[in-house]
Every structure is written in structure tokens, then in C-alpha cells.
Symmetry: C2
């Protein structure tokens, strides 16, 4: 029988992180959910995160505010001057929606949280296939971070290893929603749209990727979209 | 001639980070100073940081607020329930003033800042000799972080290397103040006391270490102390 353990789950309120939380719950973890308010234009996802955390009755849900990321800008997600792409093309380069240092900062704060609550694992819903253009979603980064975090902490200095669990790393979006549907993940509570309106736009790159995933998996996306486009 | 370069300097307003800034200026860097307001009980150091940044006329001085570190606690520096030690003994174990994940988080945010302003170096005034009990001051951690940060960023993905410069890593406190005095570092503007009063207490571990450093170097500490003790 699996030992009862504590884990921090980084929960944005989007499709991937919510699936990741579903996996953690399935694995019997006692979940400490951690959501970041970093001035993202799609702040509505924080409300989704609260609903998801409540749905799963997590042990604790912390919302960490990072006003600095908006202050320095540098991304379409934190800087109103940079438009969110609606290209429909996930190019093989680093997108303007890349937020400098985001996963590095998220994982670092999650490491501190894990240390304080006594968790030995952090779940992160990164994905190396879709959006492979984000440098901080690469497996090499995740592995390197785990080593660094173990060196940084008191627990690590005393011999414990901090595990960074990325159950979605090599799954396609279709495989992610298939897995989540099997686990009963409440996708109706999630939000993925970069525009951050009360109804998903349906045409930003994030909406397109999500719709394509459900379509390929032959499943119905339970959320509404304001624009009905044909997903290729 | 040294090329003109940009660097982020993590500036707490204490003796070490201010010396570190003095070194960066001496090396001809264009400085982007970064100070953290993480709910530390010695918040007065933020005022010192502002004065120091102004003294050096840095290119930019950002103050990043991290309310989350205080929210989770776990350290004598962020949790009022845990007393600051006045032992006078720097034991060979991790002190209660250790803040979980602090340097990991500070360096991560500095990495994001460096990426946005186009800096390729971060200066951090860590020291492996005094307070060697802090896991996140160890050279192995710093080296590992530099690799991780390079993997995390757009600049790194494009071939640049982010350097973490720690000019004080192997210096004793006496050597640090000797170096800083030679560079004209304005120690009268700095504050080191963990208690955070308007006048340094003189007896907390941080005050003791500072006074011992000046005494051993045969130099006069320009700041005032409320309690006059003999420094051993």
C-alpha cells in the first residue's frame, strides 16, 4: 500500500494543472495546492483554481502574490502592450506568451512551501510536447531544478530528496484530457483562455490547443466559447 | 578594457550585499539593484538598501514584494513566534534564522529580472564561511542554480550563460569589511541587525558577527549600537 505523503501541487486553474492535481489525488497524496497571482491578464484562472481546490477538498490552498512579475513585464501575459497571439500556429520558437523565469520562480516558491509543510514532492503540469518552445518546460530544466532545490533546502541538506513530479510531461493534449476524463477531473471548472474574459474566446493559441485536444480525443469540452471556429 | 555590461545585484541593505554592490560597481557593471520585501522583521534594511542604491546611482532599483514568505513562516526572520538568537555562538547547524528557499527564490526572481533587462550576471553576497549552516549559501547550490537558470531562460536556450557572481563566497567577515573599506563602501548606510530596531541591538548573532568582523580587521564600524558589549 502506498504510504500517505504530502505534496505541493502548483495549480493555475487551467486544464493541465487541474489534471495534474487529479493525478496527485489518485496517487493518494495529501495535497497543498499553490496558485500564483502574478498579474496575468487571465486572472480569471485564479477563480477557477479556487473552485478546483474546493472540489478536491485539498488540505490547504495558498495563493501567492507576485506583483514583481507584472512590474518587470516582458511577456504578452503580463504586459498589456504585447498582444496575445491568435495565430493558430504553434511555431517552433519561443512564444511571446513566455513569462521570463516563470516556472523557475513557481518551483522555487513551491520548494519553500514544501519545506515548511513537510512535503517531499511538487507536482507541476508542464508539457514538453505542446508549447515545446517554452525553455522552462524542458525535461532538462526540470531535472536540473530538482537537484538545485535539494541543495537549497534544509531537508535536502539532511539527506531528503525533493521530487518534481511532472506526470503530463510527455503527453499530448488529447492524451491529457483522456487521462483526466478517466480520473473524473472537473474540466467544467477550469479555464485556459489567455484573454481572460468571463467566457473563453476560443481563438487564442491556448483555446485552440485545448479544443484541438478534446477534438482529437473524441471528447466534449464542457466549457463555453464565445467564438465557434472549426478546430483543425 | 572591460566591456560595458549589465548586472543584477541582489541588495538587502546589509553589509555583505552592499560590499557586493561595491565590487560590481568597481568592475564597471551597469547595476540593476533588486531588493526583497519578504516580511522580514528587520524591514529597516529596505530603507538602507534604498540609501545605498541612491549612493551608487544605480541604473534602476526594484523592490520585489513577497508576502507569501511571511504567510508560510518557518523562520525566526519571518515568524514572530520564533525568537532571534542572541547566543553569540554560531553553531555548526542550520540556524532558526534560515528562511526556507530564500536564496533559491531570490535568485529565481533575479533571473527573471536579468532576462527582462538583458543582464548576463547576477551578484549575490553569500558567504560560505560565516553562517555555513545555511544550505542555500553553499557553493554547490550556487553552481547548480546557475546551470538550472541557464536552462530555464530564453537567453539560455539561445546559448547565453547566466553567471552568478559571488565575490564574497570565501571571505571572512574581516576580509569583507577590509575589501569594502578599500572600495569606499558606505557602511554607515547599511544595517545588519536581525531585531530591526532603529538602532542596531549589538547582541543578536548578526550584530555580533558584524562587530567581530570590524574588530578583527582593525577597522571602526560607523553604525551605532544600543548595547555595548565586548566582541570576542
Amino acid at each position: 500500500m502506498k504510504q500517505y505523503e504530502k505534496a505541493v501541487v502548483i495549480l493555475s486553474g487551467g486544464l493541465d494543472s487541474t489534471t495534474c492535481l487529479g493525478v496527485a489525488v489518485q496517487e493518494g497524496e495529501e495535497v497543498y495546492a499553490l496558485t500564483f497571482d502574478y498579474g496575468q491578464r487571465h486572472r480569471i484562472e485564479i477563480e477557477s483554481a479556487k473552485k478546483v481546490a474546493e472540489y478536491y477538498r485539498v488540505k490547504e490552498h495558498q495563493i501567492a502574490t507576485l506583483p514583481f512579475l507584472r512590474a518587470i513585464g516582458g511577456s504578452a501575459l503580463t504586459d498589456k502592450e504585447i498582444a496575445v497571439p491568435h495565430s493558430g500556429v504553434i511555431a517552433n520558437e519561443i512564444p511571446v506568451t513566455y513569462v521570463p523565469g516563470r516556472n523557475l520562480i513557481f518551483l522555487s516558491i513551491a520548494t519553500a512551501y514544501a519545506e515548511v509543510v513537510g512535503a517531499n514532492a511538487i507536482y507541476l503540469g508542464v508539457n514538453a510536447l505542446d508549447y515545446s518552445g517554452y525553455p522552462d518546460c524542458r525535461p532538462a530544466f526540470i531535472e536540473s531544478f530538482a537537484r538545485t532545490a535539494t541543495l537549497a533546502t534544509k531537508a535536502g541538506a539532511m539527506g531528503a530528496t525533493l521530487q518534481i513530479k511532472t506526470p503530463l510531461l510527455y503527453l499530448s493534449k488529447a492524451e491529457i484530457v483522456t487521462l483526466g476524463t478517466k480520473l473524473g477531473v472537473p474540466y467544467e471548472l477550469t479555464s485556459s483562455c489567455y484573454e481572460g474574459g468571463s467566457v473563453a474566446c476560443g481563438v487564442c493559441d491556448s483555446c485552440r490547443l485545448r479544443r484541438k485536444g478534446f477534438a482529437e480525443a473524441g471528447l466534449t469540452d464542457p466549457i463555453a466559447y464565445s467564438e465557434r471556429i472549426d478546430v483543425v
